[in-house]
């Protein structure tokens, strides 16, 4: 083996498959319909469903019970051009986001303490498990009594409901660190804090993002449920109003907006995950 130059030695490296080659292939086939038939099938199913709904369902079901897609779209356009609607949207967004940040933030703090300090774990884990079994939505009436008809009761609801999935993910994630990686850092003389920062925290990132993903959707749910119980504004309030008025198309319009909101939040978090925890998807490629 005469590998004089560094460049030469990489070329003659026996496992000579190009390490970057697979990435290039992946990129090429990303939008190739032959490789990924779902790119065609998913929209196709959507179109078929809408057509059936628009033209077949009205033959059996009255329009005021189940409005056809075109009347939902009409209603949606009407809502979106109404400044009142945007006010409701803003209220729900504010409740969800503040609740989400509080819930997720406290879950990260408590989860870190539980996963790192034995005594905290032993003391608090029974309570965590007990509270986790409580159906959080059932607490909403209580929160309205305690915190009133304003934003606070909805923020508390959103925080409580997004707290638990995040907590479980933080605890699991901080424990998921690979023992070999911890041993490696130990050999080089790392302190507990260094091990936490350099291995445990990054190892937990995919879990934390899973918690954020569930948490944001739950927070919106929490805010809407809170508005159901007692509120003067918000999308949940609007949903009840349209319901009382038997404006089913209007209800569907609000549901569409809520779904789009959830989807946007989901994709935003997925985007952040790809940027911040970029290794998570590729890490299974790492050789043993």
């Amino acid at each position: 083996m005469t590998t004089a130059t560094p460049a030469g030695s990489t070329v003659s490296d026996p496992p000579g498959r190009s390490p970057k080659g697979s990435a290039a292939v992946e990129r090429k086939s990303r939008f190739d319909v032959r490789e990924r038939p779902e790119l065609l099938l998913v929209p196709a199913v959507f179109v078929v469903l809408i057509l059936v709904w628009q033209f077949l369902i009205p033959l059996f079901v009255d329009d005021y019970v189940l409005p056809v897609p075109s009347s939902i779209v009409d209603s949606l356009i009407q809502q979106l051009t109404d400044p009142l609607f945007w006010g409701h949207l803003e209220v729900t967004l504010r409740e969800s986001l503040i609740g989400f940040l509080i819930g997720v933030g406290s879950a990260i703090l408590l989860g870190t303490a539980i996963s790192q300090v034995r005594l905290v774990e032993k003391t608090l884990m029974p309570y965590v498990v007990a509270f986790q079994t409580v159906p959080k939505v059932a607490l909403a009436p209580l929160f309205v009594v305690w915190f009133g008809f304003g934003l606070t009761s909805k923020i508390v609801m959103a925080a409580v409901i997004s707290f638990f999935p995040m907590l479980i993910n933080v605890i699991e994630g901080l424990r998921a660190a690979d023992a070999d990686r911890i041993q490696m850092l130990t050999v080089f003389g790392a302190s507990k804090l260094q091990i936490f920062r350099m291995v445990r925290l990054p190892s937990a990132m995919p879990f934390i993002f899973a918690g954020l993903d569930i948490g944001i959707v739950f927070a919106i749910l929490g805010a809407v449920v809170g508005e159901f119980i007692g509120a003067k504004e918000g999308l949940g309030y609007l949903l009840l109003q349209t319901n009382y008025n038997f404006d089913i198309a209007g209800m569907f319009a609000v549901l569409v907006v809520l779904s789009v909101l959830g989807l946007l939040a989901h994709f935003l978090i997925r985007f952040a995950q790809r940027k911040i925890a970029f290794w998570a998807e590729e890490s299974r490629v790492i050789a043993a």
């Binding site: 083996m1 590998t3 560094p6 460049a7 030469g8 030695s9 990489t10 003659s12 490296d13 026996p14 496992p15 498959r17 390490p19 970057k20 990435a23 690979d178 070999d180 990686r181 041993q183 490696m184 850092l185 130990t186 050999v187 080089f188 003389g189 790392a190 260094q194 350099m198 291995v199 990054p202 990132m205 925890a277 970029f278 290794w279 590729e282 890490s283 490629v285 790492i286 050789a287 043993a288």
Partner: protein, 276 residues
């Protein structure tokens, strides 16, 4: 890094064992694992070993003979039951900064670039980042990973990852390099290639190396001395001086003299009819 270890001529084993300024000194080392319900397991018993500065020593033995335990005791990862262990004049009671270690798996951190991975010991020990950064680049260049410094581990093949692992073990200029079956996960071709690489790196850096391996030919090819451990409890069955000329290349392994060493070590395994 260009520092070559002085006086690398092989000397009789007896001389090494009485050498008082040995770079690694193990005396009367015992390790017993206590189990709650069963009899305690004696992993290592009465291990005496001295390694000179700049020497390349391999440890071979049947499965479960405690060779990895011995290395982990040297690394300060596992406590000992009895005996003394010194490295470069320091008693080993925990991980020493004088140690660089290469693991069975490359154990690179996937969220760090190759260069950042190599610099892990520097960061952990709070050493001068600029000075050692230059050294990291030099080491990566030396193992042919210069152009991959800013790549992430998943972009590297298994052999390349293990070479980065070797750079990481060397970056803080440790006195001793401990290697725990570092090439066990690689295919035969890559493994031979890595053996040649390792010899080259060892010759350039002049480090003292203790290598645990289950490949007898690998041990013979690389080492000044091969420590043969017996089956459990692990005792030193024989220390074989490998007097093959340096520098060596793979053709050495086809020679009769190398074959004699391999056979002599293999006899120990056949006697216990356990082959690792």
């Amino acid at each position: 890094m260009s520092l070559r270890a002085p006086g690398r001529q092989t000397s009789p084993a007896t001389a090494a064992e009485t050498d008082t300024d040995a770079w690694i000194r193990v005396a009367g080392l015992d390790k017993t694992y206590k189990a709650r319900r069963s009899e305690p397991t004696v992993a290592l018993q009465g291990i005496d070993l001295s390694v000179r500065r700049g020497e390349f020593v391999s440890v071979v033995g049947p499965s479960g003979c405690g060779k990895t335990t011995m290395l982990k005791i040297l690394a300060g990862l596992v406590s000992r039951t009895a005996g003394d262990v010194q490295i470069a004049g320091n008693d080993v009671n925990g991980p020493l900064p004088e140690i660089g270690m290469v693991f069975q798996a490359a154990t690179l951190l996937p969220w760090r670039t190759v260069r950042q991975n190599v610099l892990v010991p520097v960061e952990v020990q709070g050493l001068d980042k600029e000075k050692y950064g230059a050294r990291a680049d030099e080491l990566l260049e030396m193992v042919g990973l210069g152009e991959f410094a800013d790549s992430y581990p998943y972009e590297l093949s298994g052999g390349m990852q293990q070479r980065a692992g070797i750079c990481r073990a060397l970056v803080h200029d440790p006195a001793v390099l401990l290697m725990d079956e570092p090439f066990g996960a690689l295919d035969a071709m890559t493994r031979e290639y890595m053996n040649v690489e390792l010899l080259r790196i060892w010759q350039q850096s002049g480090k003292t190396v203790v290598l645990v391996t289950h490949s007898i030919p690998e041990a013979v090819f690389l080492s000044d001395r091969v420590v043969v451990l017996s089956a459990r409890p692990g005792r030193i069955a024989e220390i074989v001086d490998v007097e093959l000329d340096r520098p060596r290349d793979l053709s050495v392994m086809a020679s009769d003299r190398a074959g004699v060493y391999v056979e002599r070590i293999r006899r120990h395994f056949n006697a216990t009819s356990v082959i690792d």
